[in-house]
């Protein structure tokens, strides 16, 4: 689905952020965090509970205003100050606690994702009320695109079901389809495997690989270390708002700082 032609060549950073800091009152949630995600990567962001992963997500997607930091998307500086602008610039996200439009159908959920890529007079009130030819064509294209995305994530049979009636795993997939509908350059997933059983996790892994193969770049927050290690090309580990390790999954896994963060300091014998 996502067209590879519009993407920059492999190896250029899609998202580059450095000096990122965020404080909540006296608490420093993010302290001089730097990250660089290359095109076509699945990039893992891990860390213990409260490490600042979701805060970092909320900062790069504009939900929280950072106290400092430089942000580059696709080589261009962007200011993560308003959520809808970030989406327009090309970062689409999912949420840790699923946030679908519960009383809308699965298809309509994905159609909402096309909002930001639909412009012109026909997309407004006048087009809708007069039902111009341009409006009809645009609506058909939106519906078509959304249907294809539902197929892509494998839940097209539920197109007409209300989002809230879908199973947990399918809701996660729907959220991904909705995010893909905005044609993001970076797909940011906040714990997409949370609450999934083993089968659903395998399905998710296959889906993320497929999205990667189709040329998308993915930033992934995940608790499931096994999933992250098997899936990600690069990993950053956060602890207490600081980057404690960064690099290839295997190297990060054996890093003493990471082991300490996850398991605690070994008591001296």
């Amino acid at each position: 689905m996502p067209d590879a032609a519009s993407l920059p060549p492999e190896g250029t950073p899609i998202l580059k952020a450095f000096g990122v800091s965020k404080r909540f009152g006296g608490l420093t949630a993010l302290d001089d965090v730097a990250i660089s995600i290359d095109a076509g990567q699945i990039y893992g962001l891990i860390g213990p509970n409260g490490a600042g992963k979701t805060t970092f997500f909320n900062v790069i997607t504009g939900l929280y205003t950072p106290d400092g930091g430089v942000f580059l998307l696709n080589g261009q500086a962007y200011s993560p100050s308003t959520v809808h602008r970030v989406a327009e610039a090309g970062i689409a996200r999912t949420f840790q606690n699923i946030r679908l439009f519960a009383e809308m159908t699965a298809l309509e959920n994905v159609m909402v994702g096309r909002h930001v890529r639909t412009h012109g007079l026909h997309a407004g009130v006048i087009g809708a009320v007069l039902r111009t030819a341009a409006f009809k064509a645009s609506e058909a294209a939106i519906k078509d695109h959304a249907m294809q995305l539902l197929q892509y994530v494998g839940i097209d049979r539920y197109a007409q079901s209300l989002a809230r009636t879908l199973s947990y795993g399918d809701q996660r997939r729907l959220e991904i389809a909705r995010a893909l509908a905005t044609e993001p350059v970076l797909l940011a997933l906040d714990e997409p495997a949370a609450g999934m059983n083993a089968t659903e996790k395998n399905g998710l892994r296959d889906l993320l690989r497929k999205i990667q193969a189709d040329g998308k770049t993915i930033l992934l927050i995940e608790h499931d270390v096994k999933l992250v290690m098997g899936l990600c090309d690069r990993v950053t580990v956060l602890d207490y708002g600081k980057v404690i390790a960064q690099g290839l999954p295997a190297a990060v896994q054996s890093d003493p700082a990471v082991v300490e963060a996850y398991l605690g300091t070994q008591a001296h014998a």
Binding site: H84, R99, F101, E103, E108, H115, A128, V129, F135
Partner: protein, 360 residues
């Protein structure tokens, strides 16, 4: 689709044609019992317009507005000021500029009332952008009261609204030389003034219904509903929530403005008393009882909630006289009693309204 065989496009058109015919003939039947009944029908149309306007704000965008009657008031006073001798009598310069007095064409009044109410909708929308639910309800309630109190007090030091006395001698609607203020003699039949208004309101109501339905199924409508369902997720999808919300307030208000202008023309008189909080509450009740976000439900809710109490008011006395031989309960008391009862029953047995949202 094969399961719904009778509901083909052709059959749908036949259904629409029959419904249109029924609505055209309805006032002739109602008229047999007196013009008061046609008047009820005409007012029901005004309330359908109001309820559909509020449905855009409450039903589509999920923003609870308890001061909606303010837009009705804005439309009504706009027409009242532009088509009555009030300003002419108050201001010297108007007497000089318009020596024949202020008379406004309906073709100017309809778009102008929609636009002015939309401006007021945005004025209300701006300060409440960050509010939701109960908080939003309280602020909008305040807004409705502010407008009414302004209308009540803007008679001094400069008399704009004539205060509590209201504005009278408002021109009736005039279309193509036909004045809606008198009955129309077609030779073989005479159509009373109220019936002319009924037809005008019917046409406007149809327009409002078409606009509502078409907006619902569009990019704008989906954006409204996305905000209703989850504002943060809607933002993350790139929806400019501020503009989209303001659009909902403006669109919803514009229907109320048109309805208000029609009300002023129909009554020939407006005063702040017509725009009290209770009116706002009744309109919210129409939307909620009918089925938030569902156009057919809201139309039904508006017609039932307006018409049933009015019908009761008309028949309560004769009915009581016939059965008991005395008037035990005043019609007005009975009306509120049944209104309350209907609300309780519907919320108990049909919490999503007569007709719920599309799929529920």
């Amino acid at each position: 689709m094969s399961l719904q065989l009778p509901w083909t496009r052709k059959n749908a058109w036949i259904g629409v044609a029959l419904l249109a015919l029924a609505l055209l003939l309805l006032p002739f039947v109602a008229g047999l019992f007196g013009n008061a009944w046609i008047r009820i029908l005409a007012f029901a149309m005004l309330y359908v317009m109001l309820a559909l306007g509020l449905n855009i704000v409450v039903g589509y965008a999920g923003l609870l507005d308890l001061g909606y009657v303010a837009f009705y008031a804005v439309g009504a006073y706009m027409y009242a000021l532009l088509a009555s001798p009030h300003l002419f009598e108050q201001f010297e310069w108007i007497r000089q500029t318009f020596p024949d007095g202020l008379h406004s064409s309906i073709w100017m009044v309809i778009p102008l009332s929609a636009a002015l109410a939309a401006v007021f909708g945005v004025l209300l929308g701006f300060p409440v952008l960050r509010l939701r639910g109960d908080y939003l309800a309280i602020v909008t309630l305040g807004f409705g009261e502010i407008i009414r109190i302004f209308l009540n007090n803007l008679n001094a030091p400069i008399n704009f609204t004539n205060g509590p006395q209201g504005i009278s001698k408002i021109d009736p609607v005039q279309i193509g030389g036909i004045s809606f203020g008198r009955s129309l003699d077609l030779g073989f039949i005479t159509i009373p003034s109220v019936q002319l208004y009924y037809y005008l309101f019917l046409v406007l109501t149809v327009v409002v219904i078409v606009v509502s339905v078409r907006l619902q199924d569009s990019r704008v409508g989906r954006a409204w509903m996305a905000i209703r369902e989850d504002e943060i997720a809607a933002k993350a999808m790139g929806i400019h929530t501020r503009n989209v919300k303001l659009l909902a307030f403006a669109m919803g208000a514009s229907f109320g403005g048109v309805s208000g202008a029609m009300f002023a023309a129909f009554q020939g008189f407006v005063s702040p008393e017509s725009f009290v909080l209770m009116e706002s509450i009744v309109i919210v009740a129409m939307v909620v009882l009918g089925g938030m976000g569902n156009v057919a439900g809201v139309v039904l809710g508006a017609v039932l909630l307006y018409a049933i109490p009015e019908v009761l008011r008309l028949i309560a006395k004769p009915l009581q006289m016939a059965i008991i031989g005395d008037e035990v309960i005043a019609p007005e008391a009975l009306r509120m009693l049944l209104f309350g009862l209907a609300m309780v029953l519907i919320m108990l047995y049909r919490p999503h309204g007569f007709i719920g949202r599309r799929h529920a």
